[in-house]
Amino acid sequence: MLNAKLIETLSLIMIITSLVAVETHNLKRAAAAYCVQALLVCGLILAFAAANPALYTWAAVALVTKAIATPWLLLHYVGKTGVREAKAIIGFGPSVLIASLLLITSYTLTHRYVHFLAPTAEAAQGVFRTNLAVSMTVFALGLYAILSRRDAIKTVIGLCLLENAIHLSLVSLAPHMRETALVGIATEVVITVALLLYVIAGIKEQVGTTDTFELSELHW
């Protein structure tokens, strides 16, 4: 009933888009990569919806909040703060290497030892296992972006990746969750992103940069 080939292909492209979103120094391109990824999340949820019709609502929620609202916010604020990303802590070459290693390790580990993450027997099998492995890999990449990037907008993109991963993992972990709870989770992510970008625009105005290393007034 579930199209395993389709799900695996979408998952693979999703991992690649995360890598692009993390590694590109052009913030507009990163936002675009994020948007593609969000569309893939919708596609994946739709693919799973064949087995569980409740997921059609989830796909719609993801489309509105993740594929439309969030990229629009990102592009709007990137237009205000500048397209070039502030220099990352780790250079491009090493970073691609680290991210790829992280990706392979994380995918292999979560794929092979999925019972650590899978709360039910069903979630540990077939496409549900693939889904969990992809989610956790994207989660790890998002966390890596937040920790290793100096540009504030880039850390927000990392946060978006991380939240996409959690949203996708719910398909395997909690497919029977109520829509109200889901809408709550998805809406809050968009509001948080909007607030963060609003504050970052304020920082750009007051400090003149979005480089978080310049934010050194407060330490200790």
Binding site: P119, M177, L196, W220
Partner: protein, 537 residues
């Protein structure tokens, strides 16, 4: 275990909805309604306090109030938190009437952007305050594990712009860290909530329905969750809700946010928001408390708590900025509360659990009172002098005697010196640590109290007692709060802070002393909460 007497009631719903409705009313207020902002804020907090007292009256009789088909559930533990949150919000909202006056605080904004913008901003401030209050109460009253995450994250969203209120370099930096770190942290909590929900669902009677999402149903299924999964879930909760509660090493957002927010907001953040987070942590982690196999997790958590106390205590001693000193002291005191709650895990269902739970909940109350008071006191110092560095302030005792007395009461209370309230709760936690034979935790807790005492007496002596002229306004104005105040105070204020600021300070100080002298006064409200926490009936 006798079943609770569950009573359907609108109280839990009303507690969340009234402040939320007031937020919606306050936000569009404009010119004509300038005076209504603080009044509505006061009204919202006062109504919440009254409802919380009514809720408390029910839970003290042993009832558990439920609403919307048990989606909302208030037991004695929720009631204590709800009462503390509403009461501190009430005290801070009285204080804010004077402190957040349009003239001095928004003078700069009014000057640069026009009076209309300044008024707009103040209306937004009060609307966010009510939204913040509503989300905190919601987190303490919800019985749905996913909604618990949603409400805790909502409180971050509501308070983000309160932290950034002054919109200067420091406030923006603090707000960025606040929103980013808490959202990442809380994402882990969401993962924990979802895993717990999903792994408990097959073991509950109603397999796919909403029942599995109700926190009060989960303990029944906890024993059936595989060990590796349970450990992962607990780790997610400790990282997630622990970040919001300021548990080290996840605390770095706390000193920034608590120090850069406006005074009354700092009192809310340090006084009650982090308590709400530790409540969420104990509600979720507590699902596994009845299982003896997970005692090592409790011991690990107590270790983390001891580290938090010590780190907070040392950092508190190293600060020159008064507000940062208070913020680090909050980190340290959250360590005591967390240690108490960890011991509840060890002694669940036994006298030890009750003793530790009593100490932890009592300390939540005492720390809320004394830390809110300290932030209000320091706010008064900033209001009068536009300075907040210990090294640049001296001899304020003669000029602000009431503020000085309040400071010393709160400082001694927070350091655990008799006859103030903090002494009793810390003593109870020491006893619990000794009874659990956790001597290392006992030693660290005692040493940290000494550090706290040294830090506060040193700061208090310097700021209020030592000889010297009144401070000059700081040459390098670092903070929007100070800048706005010192710009406005063309003539430096003579005498103490305004009466509307002094009243809540004095009330909190009196409570610190009264609970210290008559600790049994708190028994009727703490005892049922500790029983509910440790499952002793």
């Amino acid at each position: 275990m006798p079943l609770h007497n569950e009573v359907a009631s609108v109280l839990p719903l009303a507690l969340c909805l009234i402040p939320a409705a007031l937020a919606l009313v306050t936000y569009p207020l404009t010119r004509a309604a300038r005076a209504l902002g603080p009044a509505l804020n006061l009204l919202g907090s006062a109504v919440a306090t009254a409802l919380a007292a009514a809720l408390m009256a029910h839970t003290m009789r042993g009832d558990v109030l439920v609403a919307l088909g048990r989606e909302f559930r208030a037991d004695a533990l929720s009631a204590v938190l709800v009462l503390i949150i509403s009461f501190i919000s009430l005290a801070a909202s009285i204080y804010a009437i004077s402190y957040m006056r349009l003239e001095p605080l928004l003078g700069r904004v009014a000057h640069e952007e026009g009076e209309e913008r300044a008024e707009r901003r103040l209306a937004t401030f009060y609307a966010l305050w009510q939204a913040f209050l509503a989300t905190m109460l919601w987190a303490c009253l919800t019985n749905n594990i996913i909604v618990l995450y949603v409400s805790v994250e909502a409180s971050t969203i509501a308070s983000g712009l309160l932290v950034a209120f002054y919109w200067d370099r420091r406030a923006l930096e603090a707000a960025y860290k606040y929103l980013m770190l808490l959202t990442v942290g809380i994402a882990f909590a969401l993962l924990g909530c979802v895993l717990l929900y999903a792994s408990a669902a097959p073991h509950l009677a109603d397999k796919t329905g909403p029942a599995a999402m109700l926190i009060s149903d989960l303990p029944a299924a906890a024993a059936a969750i595989p060990r590796s999964m349970a450990l992962l879930i607990m780790a997610c909760f400790i990282v997630g809700f622990g970040t919001k509660a300021g548990i080290a090493p996840f605390h770095p957002w706390l000193p920034d946010a608590h120090a850069e927010a406006p005074g009354p907001v700092s009192a809310l953040l340090s006084g009650v928001m982090i308590k709400m987070a530790i409540y969420a942590l104990v509600r979720t982690l507590g699902v596994f408390f009845p299982i003896a196999a997970y005692h090592p997790v409790s011991v690990f958590f107590i270790g983390l708590a001891a580290f938090t106390m010590l780190l907070g205590g040392i950092m508190c001693l190293a600060q020159d900025d008064l507000k940062r000193m208070l913020a680090y002291s909050s980190v340290s005191q959250m360590g005591y509360i967390a240690a108490g709650l960890g011991i509840v895990g060890l002694g669940f269902g036994r006298e030890l659990g009750y003793l530790a739970g009593y100490g932890a909940i009592f300390h939540i109350l005492n720390h809320a009172l004394s830390k809110a008071l300290l932030f209000l006191v320091v706010g008064a110092v900033i209001y009068v002098t536009a300075g907040r560095r210990i090294s640049q302030l001296h001899g304020l005792g003669r000029r602000m005697p009431a503020t000085a007395i309040c400071f010393f009461i709160a400082a001694l209370a927070i350091s655990g010196v008799p006859p103030f309230n903090g002494f009793w709760s810390k003593l109870t936690i020491y006893f619990a640590a000794a009874e659990a034979r956790l001597w290392w935790a006992f030693g660290i807790a005692l040493a940290t109290s000494l550090l706290t005492l040294i830090a506060f007496v040193r700061a208090g002596f310097r700021v209020f007692w030592s000889e010297g002229d009144y401070p000059e306004p700081e040459p390098a104005r670092e903070n929007g709060e100070q800048q706005a105040l010192s710009d406005a105070a063309k003539d430096p204020l003579e005498g103490d802070a305004p009466v509307a600021m002094l009243i809540p300070m004095v009330v909190l100080a009196v409570l610190c002393v009264v609970i210290g002298v008559f600790p049994n006064l708190a028994y009727p409200i703490i005892d049922p909460a500790a029983r509910a926490l440790a499952a002793i009936f």
